[in-house]
């Protein structure tokens, strides 16, 4: 037996590899195209758009559409651009994310370490509730908020986001706290620590990564919300997504595609930055939400 020994060296450009990379590259075009189109269109002037097509790169780069989208674009009610929606969204986002995560983390902790009679029943209702179409709960919630005097304001919307974020977040925290060794909890109990002390001194510091995952999940989710924003707030408090839709799909005036795309990109920028900055944690968040939910 003479001849080469050891495994056959792999060729780098085998037919298989060309097929795999070729397919992946082709599909990548489909996924990247809209991003490219948004950027390119938002940097062109209107005359250039009318002459060319959506894919042609800008000849003369202009940032005017961005400025206009941010501070002058009209929705039919007012003409102060997307900035209003942006700040509304920020004012919705910060309390919603804080409150929903605070409530859900304590909840998940109670469900994993301090089970009481009936706690699992409520938890199961909560998880099943995540599958109920929002549409069926929309109107009764309007009544509830009106009774509380919160309908149309930001507080009401924050409460709605907290309620609808609860199933997935509670699940996320419950699963995480259940994976922490029981001995730790028992040792703390022996030392006389109570419910809140164990939560703040032991559980919360240990759960920091899962807090980050929850923040990513909530920031993208709440920023991207349209339905709750349009129903539970007044027009001057509309979040960015709602305002964006009103700007682009407004029927009055000449369509300014470059301003529209700049506005669209501006609205998508927050979740995009979060996505690319968080990397694997984003995947972990959606996987936790998806696979177990």
């Amino acid at each position: 037996m003479t001849g080469p020994r050891g495994p056959k060296p792999k060729r780098r450009f085998s037919r298989n590899n060309i097929f795999i990379y070729g397919t992946l590259l082709l599909v990548s075009i489909y996924y990247l195209l809209p991003l490219y189109v948004m950027v390119v269109t938002s940097l062109k002037g209107m005359p250039e758009i009318r002459l060319g097509n959506v894919f042609s790169p800008p000849v003369e780069i202009t940032f005017e559409p961005w400025v206009k989208a941010w501070s002058q674009a009209c929705t039919g009610i007012n003409c102060d651009g997307l900035s209003r929606g942006f700040w509304n969204s920020v004012r919705i986002l910060i309390p919603s994310v804080t409150l929903s995560i605070a409530v859900a983390s304590v909840n998940g902790y109670a469900l994993s370490n301090w089970k009481f009679k009936g706690s699992e029943v409520f938890f199961n209702i909560l998880i099943l509730g995540a599958f109920i179409p929002y549409q069926i709960m929309l109107y009764p919630i309007v009544i509830l908020l009106r009774e509380l005097g919160l309908y149309g304001g930001l507080t009401g919307l924050v409460m709605v986001h907290t309620v609808f974020g609860m199933p997935i977040l509670t699940l996320l925290f419950r699963n995480y706290f259940s994976s922490i060794p029981d001995e730790l909890f028992k040792a703390a109990r022996v030392d006389g620590a109570g419910f809140w002390r164990i939560y703040f001194k032991i559980m919360m510091p240990m759960a920091l990564p899962i807090f980050v995952v929850a923040i990513i999940l909530q920031v993208t989710g709440i920023w991207n919300d349209f339905l709750f924003g349009v129903i539970y707030t007044k027009p001057d408090l509309y979040p960015m997504t709602v305002q964006l839709n009103n700007i682009v799909n407004s029927v009055q005036g000449v369509k300014e595609y470059n301003v529209n795309m700049a506005a669209t990109l501006l609205t998508g920028l927050v979740p995009l930055v979060i996505y690319f900055a968080s990397g694997k944690l984003f995947v972990r968040g959606i996987a936790a939400g998806a696979v177990k939910g």
Partner: protein, 308 residues
């Protein structure tokens, strides 16, 4: 063991006789938001809407029951029927395409390739964007004058026609293109996680038996990934029934009524047309369809756990 003994020894006398209600009190207090959400919002509000869907409520919810009147009117309305047929088309196509694309991409990424992370980031990033952003971008790309159709025509193919957003017959496929763009990355991610969970030995065994790669996927791997497929199926289906923002952004339900969907029907009747009864009935039908999807899923999950 000794730890447990200690605990009872300490906790026992310190607390005296534990009262059933005050036992674990902090935990119960902490769970109040969850209990309220579960009972008041998820159960209470759902039942409220179902009950009022049997009334003749219009501008305000009223308590005079009219039996199945609202449902008869709902199923007699051409707008609702268009919505349902659109959802069916969108649903079936989106289900099949998302599963096929999701699995194929995951399988390609699982072939130990380079730049796996880059490709994965590219396929997943649309999922971070809202349906509104998605809808508006694709509305622009599918613009008949400047978009895809215009580009192909400028290449010399003058009779080329692809204007889904302005053609009532194919408008739902225009929405489909955008929907798949946004959602397939998620399914790819779930499938990839499923593929990573498959034992390396399976591949070795298949190689020893001389089974080709594609055949191994079809005959061995896919059947093994049944739970992953079921989860994906439920996720996609739940997303399909909620389909709303995307249509609002892309077509606002037009041209005419040709891209209406059930969620839009609900919104318009509840908050615009002031015909609450119709909105309630339509949303109850939406719940019903979720229940129909969910029951086999829960059954399968339950069967899976009881089998061990």
């Amino acid at each position: 063991m000794s730890v447990v003994d200690h605990r009872t020894a300490i906790a026992g006398p310190a607390k005296g006789k534990p009262n059933r209600l005050t036992k674990n009190l902090s935990s119960k207090v902490a769970a109040i938001p969850m209990i309220l959400t579960a009972l008041v919002v998820f159960v209470g509000c759902t039942i409220w809407t179902i009950v009022y869907s049997f009334t003749s409520s219009r501008l305000l919810p009223k308590g005079n029951f009219v039996g199945l009147d609202q449902y008869e009117r709902l199923w007699g309305s051409s707008r609702w029927l268009i919505s349902i047929s659109n959802l069916m088309w969108y649903g079936v196509c989106s289900l099949v395409l998302t599963l096929v694309i999701g699995f194929t991409l995951a399988a390609l990424l699982d072939r130990k390739i380079r730049f796996e992370n880059t490709f994965r980031s590219i396929f997943l990033f649309p999922f971070a964007l809202s349906f509104i952003v998605t809808g508006l971008v694709w509305q622009w790309i599918l613009n008949p004058d400047y978009g895809l159709q215009g580009v192909v025509r400028s290449w010399g193919w003058e009779s080329f026609s692809f204007d889904p957003l302005y053609n009532p017959d194919i408008v739902i496929f225009g929405i489909l293109i955008a929907g798949i763009w946004q959602g397939s990355g998620l399914i790819m991610c779930i499938m990839l996680a499923g593929l990573r969970g498959i034992d390396e030995d399976i591949w070795k065994a298949a190689r020893v038996d001389g089974i080709g790669t594609v055949k191994t996927y079809l005959v061995v791997i896919i059947p093994m990934m049944r739970p992953v497929f079921v989860t994906s199926l439920v996720l996609i289906a739940a997303g399909i029934i909620k389909l709303y923002d995307l249509v609002v952004a892309q077509t606002s339900g037009g041209p005419g009524l040709s891209s209406q969907v059930p969620a839009m029907y609900v919104y318009d009747y509840m908050f615009k047309a002031q015909n609450l009864g119709q909105g309630f009935a339509a949303s109850t039908m939406m719940l019903l369809s979720v229940v129909i999807i969910l029951i086999p899923y829960i059954y399968l999950q339950f069967k899976g756990t009881s089998r061990g």
